[in-house]
């Protein structure tokens, strides 16, 4: 599972480069789709890494600093990966609408993928050192416990704990973001379920970037909560349900973005969904309700506050 982001990004990168080399748009498209999926899957990997950290603390031979450095690098890798995934998504969205992404967008996504891959590679390396202390022996002298302030995670944690207003402000943004995402997904899925039948699918597809805006706001604020107070979440079962629902919702978001059937006869086709499409729409709404339910129940079914 931990290898999904690194291995998956290498495959996505290979597809994109091959797409350039062979001037094959199809390969590039698949590369972008894979990149988006990897960006979604990086979330559970990052979360499980933080959970593993807490377990490893009990193990004596493992240097706490080594883990902290790994986590900081992993956090950067995660951020770059989400950024790359976002650009890939924008490219796919435009591709669906205009038959091509804006000039430069795919190269930017590729470049961001290379950066996140480099950072991830470093995180994987440092992670390997945690698990296999023998590789580290030579550097052992360098890992004297240092000033915790140099760790990004520590700074975020201090801000989360000591700032009086940042946490409440982030909570408010998180609720605004969830309303926006949910509203957009409600509209798009209702269209598939047969409400607004007279509206071409292209017109509800137009709303997806607004859903992405809400989702992005919630990813940033949500990661702030998680990195700021990881203990609240890693020991909380509903948090894992929430992450699973988020992965389903993310995959579905990609599906709605590239969904080809509704476009077959041009933008003005009055697409009618079949049973499979409707099942997908219901799954999407269920996943979003699951995210809301598990998220709001965190303090009650789990141990967050």
């Amino acid at each position: 599972m931990n290898h999904v982001p690194t291995v998956g990004s290498v495959v996505a990168l290979a597809l994109l480069i091959l797409g350039y080399a062979r001037r094959n748009q199809h390969l590039k498209h698949v590369g972008l789709e894979l990149l988006f999926v990897i960006a979604v899957l990086t979330l559970p990997v990052y979360v499980s890494g933080v959970a593993a950290h807490r377990e490893l603390r009990a193990v004596k031979e493992v240097s706490d600093d080594a883990i902290r450095i790994h986590q900081d690098v992993a956090l950067f890798g995660f951020a770059w990966m989400e950024f790359a995934g976002f650009i890939a998504w924008v490219a796919l969205w435009q591709w669906r609408r205009r038959g091509a992404a804006a000039r430069g967008l795919v190269p930017v996504a590729t470049a961001l993928l290379i950066v996140s891959l480099a950072v991830m590679g470093r995180a994987a390396n440092l992670g390997g050192e945690i698990r296999h202390p023998e590789i580290r022996a030579a550097d052992a002298a360098a890992s004297t416990p240092g000033d915790p302030k140099r760790f990004v995670q520590y700074s975020i944690n201090q801000t989360a704990v000591y700032s009086r207003w940042i946490w409440p402000a982030a909570e408010a943004v998180h609720f605004l973001g969830l309303s926006l995402s949910f509203g957009v997904l409600l509209a798009v899925n209702l269209r598939i379920l047969g409400v607004m039948k007279q509206v071409p699918f292209a017109d509800v597809h137009r709303l997806l970037p607004w859903g992405m805006l809400g989702f992005g706001a919630n990813l940033v604020t949500g990661m702030f909560f998680f990195v700021g107070q990881p203990a609240q979440y890693v020991e909380s079962n509903p948090f894992y349900w929430k992450v699973i629902f988020l992965v389903i919702a993310g995959a579905n978001f990609l599906y709605l973005t590239v969904f080809g059937k509704a476009w077959r006869d041009g933008d003005h086709d009055r697409f009618t969904a079949n049973v499979g499409d409707k099942a997908m729409a219901l799954l999407s709404l269920t996943a979003w309700l699951g995210v809301l339910y598990a998220g709001r129940m965190l303090p009650f079914l789990g141990r967050s506050f």
């Binding site: 409440p168 909570e171 408010a172 609720f175 605004l176 969830l178 309303s179 926006l180 995402s181 949910f182 509203g183 957009v184 409600l186 509209a187 209702l190 409400v195 607004m196 007279q198 509206v199 017109d203 509800v204 137009r206 709303l207 607004w210 309700l289 809301l292 339910y293 998220g295 709001r296 129940m297 303090p299 009650f300 079914l301």
Partner: protein, 156 residues
């Protein structure tokens, strides 16, 4: 009066029951209702502001029943959340600020609804009044959510 509400059986159950079906479920439903209510109104506000401008306004009639569902859920759960700690909420200024913002937000929906219905089946034109209402709706809902979220820090 507030005290007798707070000491009622229902309030007692909401406050003290360890069941997830008591306070936690009420609070979660309040969040789900919020998402439906505000999400649906925002989608219409976006249309009024020009997102998908060639879609007839009549396509957005579903927004009003959705808003109604969200509103009913949140009225019921909101009343339950109120009676749970009636003596606290009944005298808390931030709570009344939030209520005023909710009322203002719902108030923007009534003229918006009239505009959508007036347009008939094919109406697409959005005047400057409607755009202004859409901006007002987005802002008042944002303020209401923010105020509601902050209640947890300012009051309880």
């Amino acid at each position: 009066m507030l005290e007798s509400i707070e000491t009622s059986q229902l309030a007692l159950w909401l406050r003290e029951s360890p069941s997830v079906w008591a306070f936690p479920t009420v609070l979660t439903l309040h969040t789900i209702g919020l998402a439906v209510l505000i999400g649906a109104s925002w989608v219409l506000d976006l249309r009024l502001l020009g997102v998908g401008r060639h879609v007839p306004l009549s396509a957005f009639r579903w927004v009003f029943p959705a808003v109604a569902v969200g509103l009913v859920i949140n009225l019921v759960t909101g009343v339950l959340l109120f009676i749970k700690n009636a003596t606290v909420w009944g005298v808390a200024l931030p709570f009344f600020v939030k209520m005023a913002l909710v009322v203002a937000s719902v108030a923007t929906l009534l003229p918006i609804r009239a505009i959508v219905l007036r347009g008939g089946e094919e109406g697409r034109d959005v005047g400057s009044n409607a755009r202004l209402l859409a901006v007002a709706s987005i802002l008042t809902w944002s303020a209401a959510v923010t105020a509601g979220r902050l209640l947890a820090y300012l009051v309880v």
